[in-house]
Symmetry: C2
Subunit: 380 residues, 2 copies
């Protein structure tokens, strides 16, 4: 019946399914626990016609021409270059911290001095980690590094990960960059945009093939069993390939312990105004419990008398209650993850792919690239 079963209908699952169905003419079954496809990229038009990214803002950016061309078969793109402001010292200023930001937050004389020193020490239009600035013998540059660390990074990251600032490892965290240039954009890749009609429509197109069957609202455990070294689908041994893109610990009943994740409470609000804020996303590193506010009208332009915003409140992941967004990288967690990977090896036909299955962070373009690579490996 089915030649491949894919668990999860996010980018990893959808791209693999599309390739197998269209290129190898395989019958593919996708099992998805949610009642929609697209994973965390899922979006919808709300009552005001505004496209809302339900699981947080997704801005597509890549230097990978193959990935861009591939997705372009399934969507047109809206030209969109993301800019982010951070609210610090009563002002909303561009981040990553750049030469424009310096002039906005420092007295002019200091700003000019810092600019000159940066341009002498580093190449124009490059990124410099603040850790490197700190090593400089120049006190102005050290001051800049400390300022950015404290105002932009420290409290934001503490909120994001639920730590106290004093618990944070400054050596690790000091990788935050300064951009020695005047480009206010958040990303610098060649290809940037959002799907013209939203991600959900793009996923519908990706999966719009008679070979691809979609089982929604279904936990994989309800129809599959991993038993000894056999995989069963509806109580029958399944010998095709299984691509698993869900949480790896749940794949094996959490027998080596639960892997921790960080979650975010995404709170959508409708505002009775034409426009809410000065940029699509504004970060609040040092105020409030939320980390940032995104105004979706500014990502997918929509004419409406109202506007829709999203406040993101980071919170611990509670299994079965909220969404696992980010793996938490500690030595202990990596060791736990590796036990699952080892255990998974007994299933010769099992492929682990994606943010949750590989317990790592993927940007959207990276997971598409990886899925195309896995497909090519499987097809070879």
């Amino acid at each position: 019946m089915f030649e491949t079963i894919i668990i999860g209908a996010g980018f990893a699952g959808a791209v693999i399914a599309e390739r197998l169905a269209t290129q190898l003419n395989q019958k593919v079954l996708i099992i998805e626990k949610r009642n929609h496809t697209g994973g965390n990229c899922y979006d919808y038009r709300d009552d005001n016609g505004i496209i809302v990214h339900k699981y947080g803002p997704h801005l597509f950016h890549t230097d990978n021409q193959e990935v861009w061309k591939y997705l372009s078969c399934y969507t047109e793109w809206e030209v969109y270059h993301h800019e982010v402001l951070a609210y610090i010292d009563g002002k909303k200023v561009p981040i990553p911290f750049n030469l424009n930001t310096i002039y906005e937050v420092f007295p002019v004389a200091l700003a000019m001095r810092i600019e000159e020193k940066l341009l002498t020490a580093y190449e124009y239009n490059t990124k410099v980690p603040i850790l490197e600035l700190k090593k400089s013998t120049d006190t102005d540059l050290q001051y800049l590094a400390d300022f950015v660390y404290e105002k932009i990074f420290l409290h934001y990251t503490a909120k994001q990960w639920g730590m106290k600032p004093e618990e944070m490892d400054s050596a690790v965290t000091a990788r935050v960059p300064i951009f020695v240039g005047r480009d206010n954009r958040y990303f610098n890749e060649r290809y940037q945009g959002v799907p013209k009609h939203g991600y959900t429509k793009m996923f519908q197109q990706l999966l719009n093939h008679p070979n691809i069957k979609l089982m929604l609202n279904t936990e994989f455990q309800e129809v599959m069993r991993f038993d000894g070294d056999k995989i069963l689908f509806l109580d029958k041994e399944f010998n095709g390939k299984v691509v698993f893109t869900g949480m790896i610990d749940e794949l094996f009943g959490c027998q080596f312990g639960e892997l921790p994740y960080r979650s975010v409470d995404m709170r959508v609000e409708t505002i009775e105004r034409n426009n809410y804020q000065e940029a699509a996303t504004i970060n609040y590193p040092n105020n409030y419990e939320f980390t940032r506010i995104t105004e979706f009208k500014q990502i997918h332009f929509t004419k409406s008398d109202r506007t829709t915003i999203l406040k993101e409140y980071p919170e611990p992941y509670r299994r079965g209650e909220n969404t696992p967004y980010y793996p938490i990288f500690t030595e202990e967690n990596k060791a736990g993850y590796n036990k699952y990977v080892d255990y998974a090896k007994r299933y010769a036909n099992l492929i682990l792919l994606g943010r949750l299955a590989e317990y790592r962070y993927y940007d959207m373009d990276d997971i598409v690239e990886m899925a195309l690579k896995i497909y090519k490996g499987a097809a070879a």
Copy 2:
């Protein structure tokens, strides 16, 4: 695994699934050939934020309080009373033809005479079939009946069913009513409206239960087989109940011949204007190839500088190419249908339900009522 398998995720399938899942705690699998639920009620917000009924306008109206209350658990309602105008003799006038219409199309003296005669012969606020008017000895009333038959009914119905006017059986077709009253509404039921956030959202709510698994983009033949007197699901005998809401001839490989249907080519257009027409739906009985134009903004109010309209072009049903909307009731077709019903009796666990499976027309409220009844029968 599954206790009931339902084929088709329209009203019939969704209501049965909801009842079985929530009331009997049954695990239910719905198999749906399209990539969405809701059957022909499916709607979506287009790029202008306007809710579009993809398969033609669906206006909910019922006198059945139980049905209204039941659906109200899954949607709020927008108060909406449908009005239809018909373009005749260069004017857009209310239909069903009523006392207001009479004053719009006839000279005042004639209109007053007809009104008086109607009010003398019939009760106020009732419907009178034009066939009955024709039997009247009064020439004005006969004239009215002929006028309505010719201008409102004859050519519209000929387009709708693809017949020449002269082929039409006037005895059958003359059941079109005149409304002896001043109520311009198309429906007179106690409860009228549209789901506040659209039908698709309402179906998502109906099906939003962990017991309901949804298999989209899947023809039932791909996973089921009807073999002798056994029903197989993925090559294993399935002994639970099977509710089939699809085309009954396709259930049995069209072995007694294909049942014919009438289809409609639904053509959606975006218009660069705030507003397109004077009413939500305007019928064109005597002009053009389409039967009617619907402007969706007037059904689900949306603020936009553009407006979205739908022109309906009736056409023959071509299997596998377009959508079967209406069964075609002839003695021959009913006989063909009955062969399938007889054949279906060998499957003790098979239930046939809905417009396509029962080869009959259902309004939305009627199919919900029937599904609730079937559920009660099965649960008893």
